[in-house]
């Protein structure tokens, strides 16, 4: 904002020490100039650091201790992590389930967000607004997954059972949410139903901002159909939104817990629906093994941030 340009480099010939000191002096002067900026940010940043940054660091530290909330934490090195990966069989089930969820709901919901947004974008304004609402509504309607409990309820009155019995496909009602082989599939289905959220809206918006003249230019240059248009013009112009959507979809797909707890119960039959987050809830809020739970949280943190950074790197290459 300020019009004052600050000399960045120290005069030649000075040693390292003075240059460092000048650098600091320059920084200090700049910071003083921008004291209003810092003041404006202060309330938000104070809360953000207290409730987001500090907890991540604390979690990392606590994960190396034995801590039950009553006694002072005792340092035990890597023991929590060793126990997590070598002794805790349920955790391995949770990791397997989480990765399976994420590998399916992540990419599928991401593509669904884009494909539906892309088709909706071809509609007229009124119909477009309506279809946007139809696809976005499940993700903002709160805890409506109780509907899915009624759909997959284990008696004849459940929609799924009633329909299948009437069609003559099955004779006996199926206990959908208590049968291991169905639980994962149902949770994935419901999670997908809920997943057209912020990312979907970002794509809808992104598609509307693609420069229309590019399409005309493309048609002149020999783009023949809508698929070529999508690949050569639309996707490359939308890279920023694509990256944002990826972060949102990926983070949600790795954090599956609410749907699992509400539909499959907690704990679920034979831990068939256990995820890393439900495992974390189990140790953090029921067993009060805070050190161990923090180790789970740290693994989850690394998993989430790691996959996100890798996906960002891959998306940056799209169309380059």
């Amino acid at each position: 904002m300020s019009n004052i340009t600050v000399e960045q480099t120290a005069p030649a010939g000075t040693g390292r020490q003075p240059r460092l000191r000048t650098w600091w002096a320059v920084r200090k002067r700049e910071m003083k100039l921008h004291k209003h900026s810092y003041l404006l940010m202060a309330p938000y940043m104070l809360l953000f650091f207290t409730f987001t940054v500090l907890p991540v660091l604390m979690s990392l530290l606590i994960s190396f201790t034995y801590f039950n909330m009553l006694e002072f934490p005792r340092f035990i090195g890597w023991q929590n992590y060793a126990r997590l990966f070598l002794e805790d069989e349920v955790f391995l089930i949770a990791v397997k389930n989480t990765l399976l969820f994420a590998a399916i709901t992540g990419p599928v919901s991401y593509m669904a967000c884009f494909i539906f947004a892309w088709i909706i974008n071809e509609l007229g304004p009124k119909l477009r607004a309506f279809m946007t609402l139809v696809f976005y509504a499940p993700s903002i309607s709160g805890n409506v997954y109780f509907i899915w409990q009624m759909i997959f309820s284990g008696d004849r009155y459940g929609i799924a059972n009633g329909f299948l019995i009437k069609m003559g496909i099955i004779l006996e009602p199926i206990l959908w949410l208590k049968t291991e082989k169905y639980i994962l599939a149902i949770i994935i289905l419901v999670q997908l139903w809920l997943s057209l959220g912020t990312g979907f809206l970002a794509f809808i918006a992104g598609l509307q901002t693609v420069d229309k003249t590019l399409y005309e230019a493309g048609a002149v240059d020999g783009v023949k159909n809508r698929w070529q248009e999508l690949w050569y013009i639309t996707l490359p112009s939308m890279r920023p939104q694509l990256m944002f959507g990826a972060v949102i979809q990926l983070t949600t797909s790795l954090a599956v817990a609410d749907v699992s707890i509400n539909l499959a119960g907690f704990p679920s039959v034979n831990y068939a629906a256990e995820t890393i987050v439900t495992h974390l809830i189990d140790f953090g809020t029921i067993r009060f093994e805070m050190g161990f739970a923090s180790a789970i949280a740290t693994v989850l943190f690394i998993l989430m941030v790691g996959t996100n950074l890798i996906v960002q790197r891959l998306l940056r290459k799209v169309g380059q």
């Binding site: 921008h34 404006l40 938000y44 907890p55 607004a129 509504a137 709160g142 805890n143 983070t251």
Partner: protein
């Protein structure tokens, strides 16, 4: 208008009828998958008990009744804590959270978008990084921090973290970047302070983004069950009370549907009225490396 029409006609050049038909059919099928459970929920709220447990089950209600809503009022009239208290709790938490978030996130977004101060990139990178993990990661230390601060079992344990959601700051900052610098420079030359610029120039210009932040935080707080921080019955939220009703089992199925209908209708209504503004904000949501 004419120009839009020609543009649209021109865009049809690369459209085959068959392709359009197939795509719209595809959209319709999945649209039905998205909307049917919601339609079922709406209908269930108006079904008398014998229709909820009907074999074979049907989607639409035959003899609509308000019994479920009446039962709900009765049920809640007998509850230990009056139902209006749950409503107040949710409305208070949501209202305060939304207000504080819009205010604080905007105040922080303005310098991040428009000032070049030392530490700007680092701070923004940390915010972006925080989009990459879910709140579950920080739940345990957060409980400890809340208990140190003495906020356990108060509204503030839910409200204060909502002030600092990172998605809101991110979207607001991206949106503010498109305010022309000249506008701010002009105000500065006129002698306006940064706070004045923020309040009377920047804020009125980012109204669409307010609505977006409002709906994002609203939907999170409206559906909160207290995140494990609230124990006192008189401080519990509507969502918590409704979960207790739904968990009442078969006898409460109709009432549960009525509560769910009331709960979901509010955010959906807000979205219907703010959709175009939200889309406008989302257009700037992209990540520019």
């Amino acid at each position: 208008m004419n120009m839009i029409l020609t543009l649209r006609r021109r865009r049809r050049v690369n459209r085959s009828f068959l392709g359009s038909f197939a795509l719209f059919l595809f959209l319709a099928v999945f649209g039905a998958f998205m909307v049917l459970p919601l339609i079922y929920a709406i209908n269930a709220a108006f079904k008398p008990l014998d229709e909820i447990f009907l074999f074979p089950p049907r989607l639409f209600v035959r003899n609509p009744t308000l019994d479920n809503f009446i039962d709900l009022v009765e049920l809640l009239g007998n509850s230990w804590v009056p139902f209006t208290r749950y409503i107040f709790n949710t409305v208070f938490i949501t209202g305060m959270g939304v207000l504080g978030h819009v205010l604080f996130a905007s105040a922080a977004a303005y310098p991040l978008a428009k000032h070049k101060f030392p530490g700007r990139n680092v701070l923004f990178q940390i915010v972006v990084l925080s989009l990459m993990f879910s709140p579950a990661v920080t739940s345990i230390p957060n409980y400890m921090i809340m208990s140190w601060l003495g906020f356990v079992d108060t509204y503030w344990a839910v409200i204060l973290p909502a002030f600092a959601y990172s998605l809101g700051l991110y979207l607001m900052k991206q949106f503010m970047e498109q305010i022309p610098d000249a506008l701010l420079e002009a105000a500065k030359i006129d002698g306006a302070s940064e706070y004045h610029i923020f309040w009377s120039i920047v804020m009125p210009n980012v109204k669409p983004a307010w609505l977006t932040l409002i709906i994002l935080v609203f939907q999170i707080l409206w559906g909160t069950d207290g995140n494990g921080f609230i124990y006192s019955e008189q401080l519990k939220t509507l969502h918590f009370a409704s979960n207790q009703i739904i968990q009442g089992g078969i006898a409460r199925a109709g009432v549960g549907a009525a509560v769910a209908l009331i709960l979901m209708s509010v955010p959906i209504t807000i979205f219907i009225f703010s959709q175009s503004r939200i889309i406008e904000t989302m257009a700037t949501s992209g990540m520019k490396d």
